[in-house]
Symmetry: C2
Subunit: 458 residues, 2 copies
């Protein structure tokens, strides 16, 4: 029986995985628990949603990443509770694990500002399942539009709205524009996919709010060139099956759109809320747990919180953003702090975030980058983006493949991963949807077997 | 309005797609209807099921394959009925399409010999959804085994049974053996994945019944070397959640196995059964529709049936097997026959199958091949197999990627696509399953945080 210091890490995202890797060969026993059997490279998830990559290409099995790390064990399990008194984490299946040090890296979830019904009509981009659901939704929209002849209905099916113009929203809008204008260009006979409307909206006065204004403006211009309509200063009032209700300075407007994607806010994961209750920790509006300079919860020096779930205040008094870089640096910091404690070394100096800058990709060979005071855009920013993302992907194998996919796609505009699978057909009610639309249409046989139709105005 | 000859093709598998491609630039209007938006390269589906490839890598969007073929239109739809009197096919969504010539390439489905309840516990390998379900099932079995300590339970979770020792069964068994003995070797702390039992069973007296005996024997020896137990001359009496009941010469035996895969028989697709009723066509036991020497249904010279759904008798009086080669040659033949009819040329000579041989892959660098009288095994057969399969994959992009994946995996034994996604967690009832098992186990904390356990006997 081992008597070594027991470290439990909850979550195998950027924070949890970096913490586990920083504990390699250290005199501790590590247990990493995640609900998933893989680490997901979230920054490329929008490429799964838009059919450029397969899920397997941006995910690495946690077991395989940590396979050779003898002091580390990976467990597939759903942590439901944390008991700081007995120092245990409790799983949904009834098992419980004791810890000497706990690193909570349970991340965030998408937030619909209290309108949970919107989730059904406007999926967000947090998981592989949601990414594939979004892919199905986008591809189905073109399939349905091809099958119906009513112009208003077609227009609604060929309208794509992305709510939230942060990095994810900009990336999704750019990719959908490329699908419509390039990838699918020759694929249909009744519709012209390149006439699809792609609308990117936000409540803020401009896209990419965290970026400097000149880069945000450049991004907006690139989006316009790709055919994306950017609408800012708008508030979403309602989302349903038919579309959105939007409030702007000009009043309330209804927009018919069958594909709505949510790139809006996030909130703390469910486990974060439980941890806050158990430790009576201070939280912010988004449910993030306030941590001290050493990333521990006040009163609980053995509980570290890292990543999206942590409300960590920088030296200049501002909270750190919920990005991969912060999570990775925090995970590594927490792991080192634990090792120092175990080895009875002097206490670590406070966590200090080293900001390497921010990046957002807009489309093929185009991005904006803000790093070390330099503002880059266009293909130089894209190259930096591609390089950094490739380097970060955990597995050697994925890295090569992703690179080759990109090379091929940039040469051919094709997208390999354009499958509609799973329960999509019933989820989106394709047959029923069509059945009612087909009735309203003229004889579809005529549409189908005639020559390509005249262009219609969207 | 076009007055050209209307060809409707039902199904975008090997037969339907080859037919469509053979009609390129011909004076006909082609409508290809499929329930899926992609052509699936079925012979590599077992690699999706065993985590080597992602679905996107063996599937090509039908629209994209036929994109530049101006006389061809692809429709996503579920053909539910065929009316030979009015010459129309009817879709589930209520639309109907008129044809002058119809090619039915609706394929086959897996058949459980009337025991439909078995399907739940023993998925078969016919679709992307089933392949990913099988992948989840295999990976989950190891995850559950890692979490429980009762030896009998563990043994049941680490027992994998493949029913049916044709090419698919042999390929699955070989791949699972490699997962257990190589890929996962270092990934677990409580179990030794290489001690998993992999059992391949069949009612026939040997594996690969359609192959010559010497090759079948070689395959059986290779499987034994990989650690697969081959059990022949067995009849499955029942399959349930706990395992299988088997009848052999020695009597009835119950085998505890949590992962059972069905590589047994196939039967005609549902549409095939409808077509048989509508045309009063002769069928065989498997529901295949008897076609004449020109691949048309008796009495309906405008209805061609090709591929798995066709009962086509060769010149030596034997029915052709349900393999990709037959479907492709038949699809091309039907297309050419239609063109000749449209162009008022003389009637085509009867369909003649050109047998290029058969192949089955057994594991890493090992296969058996029977072609033009040559019997090959080991790596020469594997090279032929790899070459042929790469050449056949429709898309340029997939072809390169699949090749690189293989190269990497053969060097590293790693498998990139080891994701458990979707509803798997609830489907396989992971948490409930564990909850009851965990209770029976000793304190799981001890197992988890101790050193790797002593080897146990499976």
């Amino acid at each position: 029986m081992s008597e070594r210091w027991k470290v439990v890490i909850v979550g195998g995202g950027f924070g949890g995985l970096c913490a586990a890797q920083a504990l390699k060969s250290k005199p501790v026993d590590v247990t990493l628990i995640d609900r998933r059997n893989y680490h997901l490279f979230q920054p490329l998830l929008y490429q799964v949603a838009t059919g450029s990559l397969s899920p397997g290409e941006i995910a690495a099995p946690l077991r395989s990443v940590l396979s050779r790390q003898k002091n580390t064990r990976v467990l597939l399990g759903d942590v439901q509770d944390i008991d700081p008194a007995s120092k245990r984490v409790l799983l949904a299946d009834g098992a419980s694990f004791e810890y000497d040090s706990l690193i909570v890296a349970a991340g965030s979830q998408s937030f619909y500002y209290g309108h949970e019904t919107w989730r059904e009509w406007a999926p967000s981009l947090k998981s592989v399942e949601e990414a594939t659901a979004i892919r199905h939704k986008i591809l189905y929209a073109f399939e349905v539009a091809e099958r119906i002849s009513d112009p208003a209905q077609r227009r609604a099916w060929l309208t794509f709205v992305i709510v939230g113009a942060g990095a994810t929203g900009v990336e999704l809008a750019g990719a959908i524009a490329e699908i419509a204008r390039q990838t699918l260009k020759h694929d249909f006979r009744s519709i012209h996919p390149e006439e699809a409307r792609i609308i990117l909206m936000d409540g803020a006065p401009r896209v990419l709010p965290p970026f400097p204004e000149d880069l945000a403006n450049k991004a907006a211009r690139t989006l316009a060139k790709l055919g994306v309509q950017v609408k800012t200063g708008l508030m979403v009032q309602d989302i349903d099956k038919e579309g959105l209700t939007i409030q702007s300075r000009d009043g309330i407007e209804h927009l018919e759109a069958r594909t709505i994607l949510w790139a809006g806010g996030v909130t703390a994961s469910a486990l974060g809320k439980i941890l806050a209750t158990r430790t009576k920790a201070e939280t912010d509006r988004g449910g993030r747990i306030k941590v001290g300079p050493q990333l521990t919860v006040a009163g609980y020096p053995d509980i570290y919180v890292v990543g999206d779930l942590a409300l960590s205040i920088d030296s200049d008094g501002k909270p750190l953003p919920g990005v991969a870089q912060v999570a990775m640096q925090q995970g590594t910091y927490a792991a080192r702090a634990i090792v120092q404690k175990v080895q009875n070394e002097k206490e670590r100096s406070p966590f200090k975030y080293f900001d390497k800058g921010s990046l957002a990709v807009i489309g093929r060979w185009s991005a904006v980058a803000n790093a070390f005071g330099f503002h880059l855009s266009g293909w130089p920013a894209w190259l930096i983006w591609a390089f950094i993302h490739l380097m970060y992907i955990v597995q050697f194998q994925s890295r090569i493949l992703v690179f080759i996919q990109w090379a091929i796609q940039d040469l051919t505009f094709s997208r390999g991963a354009r499958l509609i699978t799973g329960a999509a057909a019933t989820d989106f009610n394709f047959n029923n949807e069509l059945a009612s639309l087909v009735k309203k249409s003229a004889d579809i046989n005529k549409v189908v077997q005639s020559q390509p139709p005249a262009r219609y105005d969207l």
